[in-house]
Amino acid sequence: MRIVIDLQGAQTPYSRNRGVGRYTIELVKAMVLNPMGHEIVLALNGAFPDTIEAIRTEFNDILPQKNIKVWQQFFDTTANNLKNMWRKKAGEILREEFLNSLDGDIIFSTNLQEGFFFPACASVKILPTNSLICTTLHDIVPLLNPKMYLRDSMTRNWYEEKIDFVKRSDIVLTVSRSSRDEICKLLKIPLEKIHITYDAIDPAKFRQKNIKIDDKERLLAKMKISGPFVMYAGGHDLHKNLDTLYSAFSKMPKDVSCRYQLVMVGAGIKLEEKFNRNKLEKMGINNNVVFTGHVDDDDLVMLYNLCDLFVFPSIHEGFGIPPLEAMACGAAVIASNTSSLPEVVGYQDALFDPYDDVDMAKKMEHALTDSKFRGFLKEHGIQQAKKFSWDNSAKSLLTLFEMMVKKDGSVQSISTTSDPIQNIIRHVASLSPDLVFDDKDLIKLSISIAETFCTRKNHSRRLFVDVSDVIKKDHLTGIQRVVRAICSELIKNPQTIDVELVYTSPGDHEFCRANALIDKILGRSKSCAIDEIIEFCSGDILLFLDLHPSVAISHRKKIQFLRNKGILVYHVVYDILPALRPEFFWSELCFEFSDWLSAISNSDGAICISRAVADELAGWLKANGQKRLRPFNIGYFHLGADVENSVPTRGLPDDAPQVFAQLAARPSFLMVGTVEPRKGQKQTLSGFEKLWAQDVDANLVIIGKEGWNVKQLVETLRHHPERSKRLFWLEGISDEYLEKVYAVSTCLIAASEGEGFGLPLFEAAQQKLPISARDIPVFREVAGDHAYYFRGKEPNDIARVVREWLALFKSDQHPKSDDMPWLTWKQSTQQLLRVILQEQWHIEWINRKAIQ
């Protein structure tokens, strides 16, 4: 049996922090934890984007994410605005058809009274359905006090429509017997059709506790409570009947009441304080009464544990959670004998007449003076509280569902193969012409429908690879070469998942298919005139392969939307050097980079190009990461080292033979890479100067163009006395030249202080050139034992290493790079896909609390 549950009751700002919200989450969680063999699907309204991540987190460990479905509603359906009438009806049609399309045996809505102040939609059977509809009606307080709650026609009409929906439901739930009786009587619904799922409490939180003396003193001091106390906790509405409580307290015999304080817990009550003090003064009990205001859960539990008596004088309740909480904590509880409280308290002698302050006073006095009675109340309370649990309520509800479905026999009266989109269109078209709408409403409705239902032919999941930067211009940077190599692999060879190359731009939230790039890879002429806009479906994966910080930053809300919808969003991280070593980069880049890191940490995960970078990223997140709810997954893969099939550049300058001769004349140490502070050329040059001063016969060959912030070093290089003798700086040489230089060189020095991967090492290994590398984690990771490592940032360290290495070289005991393992791009791409598709993560980072 499949049960579809509408969770709007936990989404609207109106309900989510109150009883209804708690009921929704706790009851559904209990059902999911113990589903009795049935499948549960949760449905969320996309019009509340900030709530979806929290709900997905709540169920992350107990329900597969694909069981959480979101429908989209990009238009305002709030019922208290008459202009929204058409939109409200359209929203209801969309919701019902969506829920129908989930093919549940039961559609369970935890609260129909949503959508007056916020754009939720809740209707019953305005469309034909195969499922049984179950709705919870928590109470009918407005019907019992229409003059207070249903005065104006708009509210009245809206409420009456909701009651009508309740009557249409196949199963009606409520939270207490008394509520059921009221509903039966006023709404004329047969008693058998109404079932009870009791509210409950979290037994892990609300329980008896051994409280240390220190904590007790501290709490009482904080609350300004001086001794034994009588407690009330709850709201301050009229029906809570607090005035009678004050009066009853004052009517107790003086010798009793002077020993106790009356502690009123609740934010609403605190607001009333000034107003009430006068009254209390007149009653003569002002000094005994304490208003605590809002109290957080931990303190609340302690207060329940510490109080001498808990009084709940409410005249009317749907259920009444505070007395249950108090009982669970071992408090002695007395309450009104009206509405649902007798069921909750479950003991006749603990009840009083809420309308009679003398009766209330007598009961209070009795409880406070008779210790045996009080002890009995406490005992009873603990046992009574055990009867109410979310687990129990969930079990009884699931049992009820089983019974109803069996009875119903699932009559397939409506064809389930009908297209939900066409259904919606049909029903929207036949809405009354009195309802006003305009073209924009139609467009927004169309967008909502398109984003809710996947229109893909075979509903398969797709991998979308974002290549927004490479699309624009070919900078021929290292990153762009990686992107092009991986894209080439993905497109040319069929994969286990459909792959699309897409791009976007900071100002535009849509993603488009990168037809031009796909054509280029497949070597065909232009196949499409326009790049069509991408439609994402739940289950898809979006991988940001390219490094385009402004896109990641500007698309935060779009990415949150996609994740809400059930799409996994990942980023490839090449290195986080600008965050770890900002001194190597200019300041604007560092600012943008740290914005980018914050932005990507809101996605589902990152795949780094080496384990070293993955560890660094995890460390950075731990120190700087913002609050996030679901875990952030970090994985890694290795890049390919086979040269692209591009045509290598050719060309040798005239002095090439001479240079080769000089290089071959003595051991030549090579450095390949842009001349930049972090690549370590400066330290190496100084080291070699020391060596030359000591007549060590070796060449230093630096290959690479001038980079950023190296003016001084470049000057030194250009005018160095050893230039063209034992020091060579070859800028911008062709591939052919480079290959020949490798052939006559002796060793590659990798002195970089920070790298994402270390491709130059692979190049050297392929040329069978031995390597001497700085001992940083990433080099250890890729070169393993196939390199000679060194540490230290002083020139002497380089000098020492060279001498050591030359000694080893003489006796042929230096580590060789010939067998250093490397991957082809094909293998690298497969590794990347494995990490993503099979969820082979290296580290999981969770941060439920904000770091700052």
Partner: protein, 395 residues
Amino acid sequence: MNDKKIYRAFENRYRGPRELIKSRLRIYLPFVEQLKSIYIECKAVDLGCGRGEWLELMTENGFEAHGVDLDEEMLTDCNERELSVSNEDAITYLQHLHAESLVLVSGFHIVEHLSFDTVQTLVIESFRVLKPGGLLILETPNVENLIVGTTNFYLDPTHQRPIPPLLLSFLPEYCRFARTKILRLQESPELANSNEVRLLDVITGASPDYAVVAQKNALPEYLSLFDAAFAKEYGLTLDALAMRYETKIEQRFSDMESQLQSIYASRSWRITAPLRAAFDMLLLAKAILLNIPRTAKNVIKKLLDSILAPIIIFSLAHPTLKAWILAWMRRYPQLESWLHKFAETRGIIAHSTTSQIYSEEDYMPSTEPSRLTQSTCHIYADLKAAIERHKKGDQ
């Protein structure tokens, strides 16, 4: 041929009668007369001599004057008066003369018809052909006069572009003439001396023409003969006119102020003070009376906002009070509904208007047609079609 006829007719209409022109030209006599003290033979050439007024004047004053003009029709007037003229181009004529052969070269309202390069050549050639101490006179419209500079200069379609005084006077200096003088000419004589300058005068009253008189270097004793003529101030500048106008206005204002002061100080004013006060109050009372309906409304509205609204807010916050009030109000349903509406419009009762479902920053897909996905477009088309069908079906 036609152009020339038009030009003549134009000239006839706008240039003014012969005598008037000649009288205007007399202003140069103080300059040119001195030439006769230096030289016995005084040959003068007038470039663009037109109808020959200047030639006549020069001949009358003892100069051997010759004129050149390209307009044959003009020259017929000269020939009728037996003046020595020839039909040729001014520059070419100058170029054929021997150096230092003339005492005077003049060009009245010709330079505005020539290109600047030509004017420059003219000045250079003039310098060559003039004897030491000789004079070059060039007269042209003065665009410091706002009407001339914006409108009248362009009445003649053959005018090239205005040449400001500073430019035309710079040329001879540049071409090695010893000294130059700007003469502003043809202003209204009444205006020249009066203090009654109106605003229109400022705009239109500056000298409409000006001339540059340049002298070639000579021995100091000869040059000193011309000092008097060179020292004199000629004409009316725009600045001067504007200043005079300003002063006049200032004077008027300060006169009025002192008049007012004397009135305030006078005894009759002080005596009538109470009378005036009474009259003011009458006006005020009248204004109030006329505005009572509106002000009353405002007053009542303010009262409601400042007194009733807080009362309602206070009552709503206190359940007992609220209940008591509500119970009492049930007896007067009309008052109750009015109060309810009042509270709604003042925003006291939460009857919120539109709620924003997506805050500014939330993701909202674009409704631009170009940014819609294919599926959205299909759905939209189907929706519209279905609605149309339904509408037709109803009818």
